[in-house]
Every structure is written in C-alpha cells, then in structure tokens.
Amino acid sequence: MRSGIGTRLLGTAAVASLALLAVMALVITPQDVNQLDAVRFLYIHVPLATLMYVAFGVTAVASVLYLWPRYRARKWDLLAGASAEIGVVVTGLVLVTGSIWGRTTWGVYWTWDARLTTTAVLFVLFLGYLALRRVGGDIDARAKRNAIAALAAAIDMPIVHKSVEWWRTLHQKSSILDEETFMHPHIHGSMYWTVLLGIGAFLLLFSWLLVNRYRLAKLEDRLEDEGLERAIAERRAEADALTGAP
C-alpha cells in the first residue's frame, strides 16, 4: 500500500494552504484594536481547537461503529486510534497556544475557568485512552475494550462541559459558530476570512495525517494477519511430526 495520488494531492493542498495561511496571518491581516499583534494567535488557536473536536468526534463515531455488530470491523478500531493520537497532539497544542495567548492578552497563563478546565480534562481523558490502547492482549478483545473506553470518555465530555459551564468564563465566546451573527461576524473583514482559511488548512492537514496514520496502522495489522496463517500451518505440522505422516 503506497500512498496514492489522492493522498499526495491532499498533502500538497495542506502545505499550500498552510503557507497561504502564514502569509495572511502574519503579513496581510491588520492588528486588532485591543489585542494588537497578539490577535494573530487567533489564526492558529481557533483552527487547532476546531480540529480537536473533529479528531475526538471521529474517534467516538468510529468506536460506536465498532461496537455496532452490523458494522463491526477492525478498521474502525484502527481509525479511532489514529484519530485519537492526532487529537491528543492537537489538544496539547491548543493548550500551549492558548496559554501563550492568554499570557499576552489576559495577563495569565492559566486560570481555572470553564473552557480551559474542560480542555485540560479532555486532554487527560484521551491520554488515558491512548495508554489503554498500548496495553496488549487478544486483538478483538482489545478493540472492544478500546471502543468502550472511548465511549465512556465521550459521554463524560458533555458532563464535564456543563459542570464547568456553570462558571462564567474568562475565555471569549465563540466568534464563528454563532448563528445569529453568522452573516455579520464578530471578526472583522480579512481577519474573519483568515480564520476560516486557517480552519480549512488545518482540516486538510488533519485529513492527510489521519490517512497516513490509518494506513500505517492497517499495514501493521496485516503483518500480524499474515503471521496467523503461517502459525496455523506450523501448528498442524507440529501434530504431524508427533503422529507420523499426515
């Protein structure tokens, strides 16, 4: 399984849009009236945060599909794992970029407000999930265990979110996904388009990473499968050796 033309195009598109994003974010867009240059964190922090939800969303959906007997296939487990791995890295980056941005604008690296706490819990939840994935055992048992763990973490998320949303936040509200103001965005002119570009660029990057990580996982899995057929043959030969000719 070599990477196909589609994947390569995807990779090229991701790199190109990231380059465009860099130019837009760092050169073309203006300073913010309050935040000055610090506003440029917007173009990386918001896309990363979007990616985080997408990645864990893919993990949750793939886990449901694995547990659904009609759709059960090992690929869903591999996809869930691949997406969660990227998701954890992205969440780490969300926390880092958020902290730096927070220090320059709010004046603090960290505060226990709703949004920050939820994200931190999300990070640890899926860190645990990845640790569980690395524990060995029978392949199908392992996949089922992983899927259950992912779902248990996923249904915890709305609870965590609500439990901390009863706090008011220091974090600003959503600027993009606000249906009332969708046509009159909270973000001004070129800044708005740059955020959208950023989300698009990072989604391309995510798809590219996911495709490659998933393909790698699949190859590893096939390696084990091929070993299995050989193992059955060897096992039978073991019997023949003991009982004379086959």
């Binding site: 645990g128 569980l132 048992a141 763990a149 248990a152 609870i159 965590v160 609500k162 439990s163």
Partner: protein
C-alpha cells in the same frame, strides 16, 4: 436480575467482612489523608476550614480507587473470573452487585471521614438534607463509573497504574460538583447546592445505564 445483583453484592460484602481490608486498611488510610492535610495546612487555620469540602472529597476519591482495585483483585485471582462467567449470573446484575458493594463500603468511609472533618477541621453542618443527598448521589456515581473502569482494567497487567489514569479525569465532574454542593451544605447557603446535586444525579444515572450495557462485553474480553 435484582436477585442476582443482591447475591453478587452479598458475596463482595462478605469478602470485605471476612478480610477486613476496608476497615483495617482503607479507613485508616482515609483518616491518615485527613490528618496529613490538617498537618500541612494547620498554620493557616482559615485555609483548612475553607478547603474542608474539597479535601473530604479528594480523600473519598482516593479511597474509592483503593476499593475498586480491591473489588477486582478479588475476581482476578485464581480463575474466579471464569467462574463468574460460567455462573449464569446476568452481567448487568454482576455490575449492579459490584457497584452496590463498593457504594456501601464508600458510604461507611464517608461517615468516618465526615466525622473526621467535623472534629479536625472545625466545621459545623447547616444543610443535613443537602449533604446526605450529595453524598448518596456522588457515591453512586463514583462506584458506577469506577466499576466500569475497574472491569476495563481488570484483566490487564498494568491495572494498578492504568486505573487512576483512566478513572480520575472521568470523575472530575463528581469531585467538582460534590465539593461545591458540600460547601453549600456546610456554609448554610443550600440554594447554591442543588444545581450541583442535579449534575451528580445525571452523572450517576448515565454511568449506571452505561455499566448495565457495557459490563457484558467487558466481562467477556480478556481470558
């Protein structure tokens, strides 16, 4: 199913009764945690009183971890898991029974710890109803989620280290909500506490439902 659950819970509680691990090890550990907090924070008496609710629930959480580990170590030994699978007990009933036994142990520990908080931390009680409801729902939630994750980690070699990593973030809302509700109960502003009780109720209901469905597959995997 309920009858099966009672059989299972009865067995687990009988094990605790005979081995006395809960009373001889976990309870002293809980009191020790309280004393250590008191020792560390005593110079600033105000801090201790203000943090009492949080410290109480952190101590409960530690004990819950120990109780869950213990509940599944018992099953992991010497083919007991096979016997459980062969027994014909409904997996949902096994879940309810185990969670029930853990909840009963935790309830006992909470009484001990609560007395300790009143004595050591110098707090008085204003809203007993709120406090009792909070403790009940938080305990059910903790044991339900803990039993799910205990079973998840039970067959694994690394369960001692994996269980806290998996469980603690999941029960973070319980810790938060129970602390806030208990603070309200201790401080006399019971009105502030009820929304948190609602959250505790939702958490307990969700993990009970999840455990009833998920325990079958969890018991199956790992041989």
């Amino acid at each position: 199913m309920l009858r099966d659950a009672v059989v299972m819970a009865g067995k687990d509680l009988r094990i605790e009764l005979r081995s006395r691990v809960a009373t001889n090890q976990v309870a002293p550990f809980a009191v020790l945690v309280l004393i250590l907090f008191a020792f560390a924070l005593d110079p600033d008496r105000g801090v201790l009183a203000r943090a009492a609710a949080g410290l109480f629930w952190v101590a409960v959480l530690f004990c819950a971890l120990l109780a869950i580990q213990r509940a599944f170590t018992v099953e992991a030994s010497d083919g007991a898991r096979d016997n459980l699978r062969l027994s014909g007990l409904d997996p949902a009933a096994i879940f309810l029974g185990k969670a029930g036994a853990i909840a009963a142990e935790l309830a006992l520990l909470e009484v001990i710890l609560g007395t300790g908080v009143v004595l050591l931390y110098n707090r008085s009680l204003h809203g007993p109803v709120l406090l009792v409801v909070t403790c009940a729902l938080a305990t059910i939630g903790l044991s339900a989620a803990g039993t799910v994750y205990g079973a998840l980690a039970a067959g694994l070699r690394v369960r001692e280290t994996l269980l806290p990593l998996l469980l603690l973030p999941v029960v973070a809302p319980v810790l938060l909500a129970a602390t806030r509700a208990s603070e309200a109960a201790l401080g006399g502003t019971t009105g502030d506490g009820w929304p948190w009780v609602r959250l505790l109720g939702v958490f307990a209901v969700i993990y009970m439902a999840f455990g009833v469905v998920a325990f079958g597959p969890l018991l199956e995997e790992s041989s």
